[in-house]
């Protein structure tokens, strides 16, 4: 109840802080308009034409099912990666040896291009959901893992000693000591992973499946329908922004309220 009240009370200020973001987005649209005037509608349709195409997709009912399919794949892969990456990163961070061993693996996984994973995934999983979900998972995992690992390694050893002196059981150490600190590293990692999850899901769909936004993009490409392509891109980016600023950012603010204290 208290939490709900605090969220509601913070809402106007949060929404008001959105003006800055809105202004910078509109500036981007203005630059786009400039480019559209220069290159012509075949290369770069104007924002208005794109939004009209997007509206057409939405009103015809074509947009939602495809977006839902892509969202399901991206979020499932992301969820798996966030869960496994956070847990494994935390565990690895607890041990010096495990952290040192894990570093090169992370570099290796981060360096491996998602398209290479996609090829492997197509061979392993075929044309179903498995291919995009696996590709998203494997692309997001190292990002989340390294965030959790860094967070765990940087916990103040004074606080660790205190936890030992007061004989905190492992569950309290995890929930009251490690997680609140590690969250500061996990959230940016999750947000980065959220972005790449959608990118990778669309890419995987473009090459491997017959439904989802990626498949729709493949169709618009074959029709040389640039404005429809851009409309799909806008739909994906819009969903991403909505997810980040309507869900992740408020949660992050609530969990990190203590950081603003006393300053």
């Amino acid at each position: 109840m208290k939490l709900l009240w605090r969220l509601l009370r913070g809402m106007p200020a949060y929404l008001w802080s959105g003006w800055g973001a809105a202004a910078s987005l509109l500036l981007f649209v203005a630059l786009w308009e400039l480019g559209a005037g220069y290159y012509g509608p075949l290369i770069l349709p104007s924002p208005l034409a794109t939004f009209a195409a997007l509206q057409g997709l939405v009103t015809s009912g074509a947009a939602w099912p495809e977006l839902a399919v892509t969202a399901r794949r991206a979020l499932l892969g992301l969820l798996l990666a966030a869960g496994a990456g956070s847990a494994l990163g935390l565990l690895a961070g607890l041990s010096m040896t495990a952290s040192m061993m894990a570093r090169p693996w992370v570099t290796l996984l981060l360096g491996m291009p998602p398209i290479a994973w996609l090829v492997l995934a197509m061979l392993w999983f075929g044309a179903g959901d498995g291919t995009p979900v696996f590709t998203v998972f494997v692309a997001c995992l190292p990002v989340v893992f390294i965030g959790a690992l860094q967070g765990t390694r940087t916990l103040d050893h004074h606080l660790k000693d205190m936890a030992r002196a007061y004989r905190l059981p492992w569950r309290m150490r995890l929930l009251d000591l490690y997680l609140p600190h590690v969250a500061a590293y996990l959230f940016p990692a999750w947000i980065t992973a959220l972005g790449s999850s959608w990118k990778v899901a669309v890419m995987a769909e473009l090459l491997a499946t017959s439904d989802g936004v990626g498949a729709a993009l493949a169709v618009t490409r074959s029709h040389l329908d640039t404005s429809a392509s851009l409309a799909w891109i806008c739909a994906v980016v819009g969903s991403l922004l909505a997810l980040e600023y309507a869900l992740l950012e408020p949660v992050k603010r609530e969990l990190e309220r203590w950081r603003g204290a006393g300053t």
Binding site: Y166, D176, P180, W258, A261
Partner: protein, 275 residues
């Protein structure tokens, strides 16, 4: 009688010996202060007693339960309210939420923390309030043994005096054993039944001093005289690197503390026993 017993304790960080042949006893109901210059191994000794470090050589018998440790810095969890911080040890013992919050509130109010501050984060409190919260977190466990590592070092004279009185009152009421580390001779004389003087490189106990009377009954004047007496002792001057022999101040002020020989210094061979 139950007592924290340390016998023949040696400790080294790599090739550097930090503690050599330390013997000490902290019986129930007594306050023992350990004074020494910075870096003489006091904190290492305390961490060994608290079980945060494993003894390399020697024996530590710690029969008290529960025990609590108060660190040099408050070390409150920045993401928890002050009340939850104070209740941390109780939560670790598995006490239910409502009950532990009630105990923590009582402990906090008894130490003079204002009620509104309990809902705040530690960063919103002043340094003095944070120290009180740290002391409350230790005392709320009703420890049989309280280990303190220069807990009041960062506080002003007034606050320090208040916390000293609060600590002494609680100690007298509950009869807990206290091992206090400090580099402030006056704090040691004010609080302790026994003052042990440590010298550095390697850390060892070189003198033992007992201020007269009960700590709660010592007035300021007596504390000043005893501190002066303690500071004039050659071992203390040597340990802290004070120059020259003590000056006689000529006014003939006499304190009533007692010097006692230190067994481990007299029989170094006996202190080498290990388990």
């Amino acid at each position: 009688m139950t007592a924290l017993q340390v016998r023949g304790l040696h400790h080294a960080y790599g090739p550097t010996p930090v503690l050599e042949g330390v013997d000490l006893d902290v019986p129930a109901g007594r306050i023992v202060a350990l004074v020494g210059p910075s870096g003489c191994g006091k904190t290492t000794l305390l961490h060994l007693c608290a079980g945060l470090l494993a003894p390399q050589q020697g024996r530590i018998a710690q029969p008290f339960a529960p025990s609590a440790l108060m660190f040099q810095q408050p070390r409150l969890l920045p993401w928890m309210s002050t009340l939850d911080n104070i209740a941390l040890g109780l939560k670790a013992q598995g006490m239910a939420r409502a009950e532990r919050r009630r105990h923590a509130t009582e402990a906090a109010l008894a130490l003079g923390l204002p009620a509104p501050s309990l809902a705040q984060f530690p960063a919103e409190l002043s340094g003095g309030m944070q120290s009180r919260a740290a002391l409350a977190r230790a005392l709320v466990l009703a420890p049989r043994l309280l280990l303190m590592d220069e807990p009041f070092g960062a506080l002003d004279v007034g606050l320090r005096g208040q916390l000293h009185q609060l600590l002494l009152a609680r100690q007298a009421a509950q009869g807990m054993a206290v091992l206090l580390i400090t580099h402030d001779l006056m704090e040691a004389v004010r609080l302790a039944d026994t003052v042990l003087v440590m010298a550095a490189a390697p850390g060892r106990i070189v003198a033992r001093y007992e201020p007269p009377g009960a700590a709660l009954a010592r007035g300021d004047a007596l504390v000043y005289r005893c501190t002066a007496e303690l500071q004039q002792h050659p071992e203390v001057r040597a340990a802290f690197g004070l120059p020259g022999p003590a000056q006689e101040d000529g006014d003939g002020a006499i304190a009533h503390g007692h010097w006692q020989p230190v067994a481990s210094a007299a029989h170094p061979a006996d202190s080498r026993s290990s388990c």
